[in-house]
């Protein structure tokens, strides 16, 4: 019954989405308030039914109803409750259901909180949102029904892929989808604005909080995924330039550009056409990501349960939305009036450069991701790996990072580069000192590493200098400065945190890749090995029984200078249902560095193959994105106040038709 109800709820959600796609659009064209308001109720009802459908699937998984094919293939009655729930989106059908549920959630949020939007804009935004939703409901119902029943219900399920039985699955996909799908809002706003043929600074003010929210989730989602890969896969790697990782990085890069260009549009009413285009491109890249992951056109660790008919369907959605929106853009963009003027050296100019570098580096990632697909069509098999991205994405992003501290120092309209450089002198000195220290201290490794550290320090101290300058602590009495600091808008703090986060992540990346040390060896109980100043003693192995696996736990005693620090217990788990085994690495955190122990096979003579890494400052790689997300949150809390409070005088100016 639950499965049928869930299926039915999904069909009803589709029906509501179809109503939401058409009626409000008609209402907006005819200026009929009643018809326009249909969009609002339809969006809320759509969330209700999509949510019910999703809850139905969770219930089926939790109650282990193996008569449902999806549950049978991905669950097991002995599986812990958490993994029964997270297993819902650990497969193709369930993850698509999560995708549309989040889409419905965002639509409903616009409906619920968009009271300050002009009625016709809100109606059109909700309609466009429903176009996307309808396409994906149809996709699920026709190709990937999660509620399909099995004719003869089996007694036991086939269990979830053991690699996915981890807390990471509870956090990573929902976060990532909140980010991916969140960009649908800026897309809908862009299309609605093109249909209205009117766009102004107020538009940017409405779109920015949504974009910022999506960006925060995407940042955290990517970082979480990277950390998960790091500890789960047992190779100690945290980014593989895998096509699916790229699929999440591309919307992030485009979304970051969008955040910055929307800022220019909001403050200076410039870059309007470009911002609209970026909104379209960002969501198009999200759709492309969905296509790459779900169609299996690309060899990837994530490409599970791929199916050609699904690929063709998503490709259809992709072509329809990207093609359609770009055609609309081409037809309407010229009608949008150009906004404020600015000199090349100015805050706007810096943000244009930021956008340029972000989109171009995004384009190199896109090229590297799609090149093997294109070449395969021409019958060449090849792979594009880290060396390609290091040579293309690397220099472009380094250039971008070098520019980051200058942006906030420049004034709007016309900036003074010399003055900005003078103000950044302290940051430059800090950076040079860091380079010198790294140079003197470093043993081996790339000559670029000290420069990378210098760049990271420059970005971080640049963010601090910006705060110091704004508080005026060097020029005015301390009390005044303190008062000023308190009075700084939260968005200023947000900028500083987000930019500093970039520098922090860079420091982690440079240190980890340059100075990580590795030891691969066969150990017998009692053996001692040394790595990076630690002594690692192998104590032996013990058997353990988990809920749906058996586990061989190896014990390692870690000491430093003869003093015992900790006991690390990496393990090998074997899952009987799938006949698979996984390696659970053990991590020992010391400050922001980590010791990482992963296991290989046992040799016939009783030895155990062990891989031990020492990863200096590795945690900074993920602290950086967390700082960025925190900065985004600060900025969001600043902006929400302004968005929530209507200002008639300002609105009157902003709402003038742009024709």
């Amino acid at each position: 019954m639950i499965a049928e109800s869930g299926h039915y709820a999904l069909v009803l959600a589709l029906a509501l989405a179809l109503i939401q796609s058409t009626v409000p659009m008609l209402g907006a064209a005819q200026r009929d308030v009643a018809l326009m308001n249909v969009g609002r109720s339809a969006a809320l009802a759509q969330l209700l039914f999509a949510g019910l459908s999703f809850i139905a699937l969770i219930t089926l998984h939790v109650t282990s109803d193996f008569s449902v094919a999806n549950v049978f293939e991905n669950s097991h009655s002995m599986k812990p409750l958490l993994y029964k729930i997270t297993g819902v989106w650990g497969n193709h059908e369930g993850s698509m259901l999560l995708w549309v549920s989040i889409l419905a959630l965002f639509g409903a949020m616009v409906a619920a909180f968009g009271n300050n939007l002009p009625l016709s804009l809100r109606a059109r935004v909700l309609a466009v949102q429903a176009w996307v939703a309808s396409a994906f409901y149809l996709f699920i119902l026709t190709t990937s029904n999660p509620f399909a029943r099995l004719a003869t219900p089996p007694i036991e399920g086939r269990d979830l892929n053991p690699v996915l039985q981890d807390i990471g699955l509870a956090v990573h996909p929902p976060m990532l989808y909140l980010g991916y799908v969140g960009f649908s809002i800026s897309f809908s706003f862009a299309i609605a604005a093109l249909i209205e043929g009117r766009i102004d600074a107020a538009w940017a003010r409405w779109v920015r909080p949504w974009t910022l929210m999506a960006w925060i989730f995407l940042t955290l989602g990517i970082a979480m995924g990277s950390y998960w890969a790091y500890y789960e896969l047992g190779w100690g790697g945290w980014w593989f330039w895998d096509p699916v990782e790229n699929a999440s990085l591309m919307p992030w890069l485009a979304g970051t550009a969008l955040l910055h260009s929307a800022l220019v549009m909001e403050k200076r009413n410039a870059l309007k056409v470009w911002t609209i285009l970026l909104s379209i491109l960002t969501f198009s890249l999200s759709l492309l990501g969905t296509f790459l992951v779900r169609s299996g056109v690309i060899t990837s660790v994530h490409a599970f349960a791929s199916d050609p008919t699904r690929g063709v369907f998503i490709l259809g959605i992709l072509v329809l939305f990207i093609g359609g929106s770009l055609t609309l853009f081409a037809g309407r963009a010229t009608a949008l009036k150009q906004g404020g003027l600015f000199a090349p050296i100015s805050r706007e100019g810096a943000l244009v450069l930021n956008n340029l570098l972000l989109t171009v580096s995004c384009a190199t990632v896109l090229f590297g991701t799609l090149y093997p697909v294109i070449m395969e069509a021409l019958d060449f098999k090849l792979s594009v790996g880290a060396p390609f991205y290091n040579l293309t994405f690397g220099p472009l992003f380094a250039l971008l990072l070098l520019m980051v501290p200058f942006g906030p120092m420049l004034a709007w309209k016309r900036g003074d580069l010399l003055a900005a450089t003078q103000r950044l002198l302290a940051a430059g000195v800090a950076s040079l000192v860091a380079i010198a220290i790294a140079w003197a201290w470093a043993r081996g490794g790339s000559a670029l590493a000290p420069l990378g550290i210098g760049l990271g320090v420059f970005v971080i101290s640049g963010a601090i200098v910006d705060l110091v300058e704004r508080s005026g602590i060097t020029r005015v009495p301390f009390k005044t400065a303190l008062h000023r600091t308190k009075g700084l808008p939260r968005s200023v703090w947000g900028t500083a945190f987000a930019h500093a986060g970039l520098g922090v992540a860079l420091l982690g990346i440079v240190c980890e890749t340059t100075w990580n040390s590795e030891l691969i060896s066969t150990l017998r109980p009692g053996d001692v090995r040394g790595l990076a100043g630690y002594e690692i003693k192998f104590d032996g192995m013990t058997q353990r029984q988990g809920p749906n696996f058996t586990e061989v736990v190896s014990t390692f005693v870690i000491s430093e200078d003869g003093k015992q620090l900790a006991v690390m217990t990496p393990s090998k788990r074997s899952f009987s249902t799938r006949g698979m085994s996984t390696t659970e690495a053990a991590l020992l955190t010391r400050g922001v560095s980590q010791l990482y122990v992963s296991l290989g096979d046992t040799t016939p003579d009783g030895g155990l193959a062990v891989r031990i890494y020492h990863k200096p400052l590795v945690l900074l790689i993920w602290f950086g994105p967390v700082l960025m997300a925190f900065g985004g949150l600060l900025s969001l809390s600043d902006r929400r106040l302004r968005v929530g409070a209507p200002r008639p005088a300002r609105a009157a100016r902003a709402l003038q038709p742009a024709e």
């Binding site: 892929n161 690699v163 896969l233 047992g234 299996g296 690309i298 060899t299 660790v301 490409a303 599970f304 003027l341 600015f342 000199a343 090349p344 100019g349 244009v352 450069l353 340029l356 570098l357 171009v360 580096s361 384009a363 190199t364 090229f367 090149y371 070449m375 019958d379 060449f380 098999k381 090849l382 792979s383 594009v384 790996g385 060396p387 390609f388 290091n390 040579l391 293309t392 220099p395 472009l396 691969i520 060896s521 066969t522 799938r578 006949g579 698979m580 085994s581 996984t582 390696t583 992963s598 296991l599 290989g600 096979d601 040799t603 016939p604 193959a609 891989r611």
Partner: protein
């Protein structure tokens, strides 16, 4: 500056950044692209020692030998030919005889493929897509075995111009 001049400045800057990016991409394409081969392709094409490529196929049952200090050797086969592979390190959890594998490295002077990376996907039914495609082409796909002989003719497998493009790429 007039509006037109400003716009030209921005467009000029954009073109410059694009040109730099295009230059970087073309440069990277020359040095950092790794081609994919099967043992049959290696035998036909006489790949030069030291040239990096990805080798894909099935691990020949009975060929896995573990030596001292985590050194392993095994053979990769694709039905048409076999190629010995040497690797030092820990094999992935899902590395098994008879299963698909992709190894990255280069041939040494004795014709042994020295791998520095061995990949196997985290799913027991997995076969790397590149391997599956080439096995299908050669008629050694598992579904093809049921068919009468001669039905599945080995298709031409070639790397065409790719060979030249990648020539000289060692790392």
């Amino acid at each position: 500056m007039t509006r037109k001049q400003r716009r030209l400045t921005i467009i000029g800057g954009a073109l410059f950044v694009l040109a730099v990016a295009a230059g970087l991409v073309l440069n990277a394409l020359r040095d950092s692209i790794v081609f994919f081969s099967t043992p049959t392709m290696v035998a036909e094409k006489h790949v030069a020692p030291g040239k990096r490529f990805r080798l894909g196929g099935l691990v020949q049952p009975g060929s896995l030998k573990k030596g001292d200090d985590l050194a392993v050797t095994f053979e990769v086969a694709d039905g048409g030919a076999k190629l010995p592979v040497a690797y030092k390190g820990i094999l992935p959890d899902l590395f098994r005889e008879g299963q698909g594998v992709v190894a990255e490295g280069a041939l040494d002077a004795n014709g042994v493929f020295k791998a520095d990376t061995v990949l196997a996907k985290h799913d027991e039914t997995y076969m790397p897509k590149e391997v599956a495609d080439s096995l299908k082409k050669q008629g050694h796909w598992k579904d093809d075995y049921g068919k009468p002989q001669g039905g599945a003719k080995p298709g031409p497998v070639s790397m065409r111009e790719g060979e030249k493009t990648a020539a000289g790429a060692t790392q």
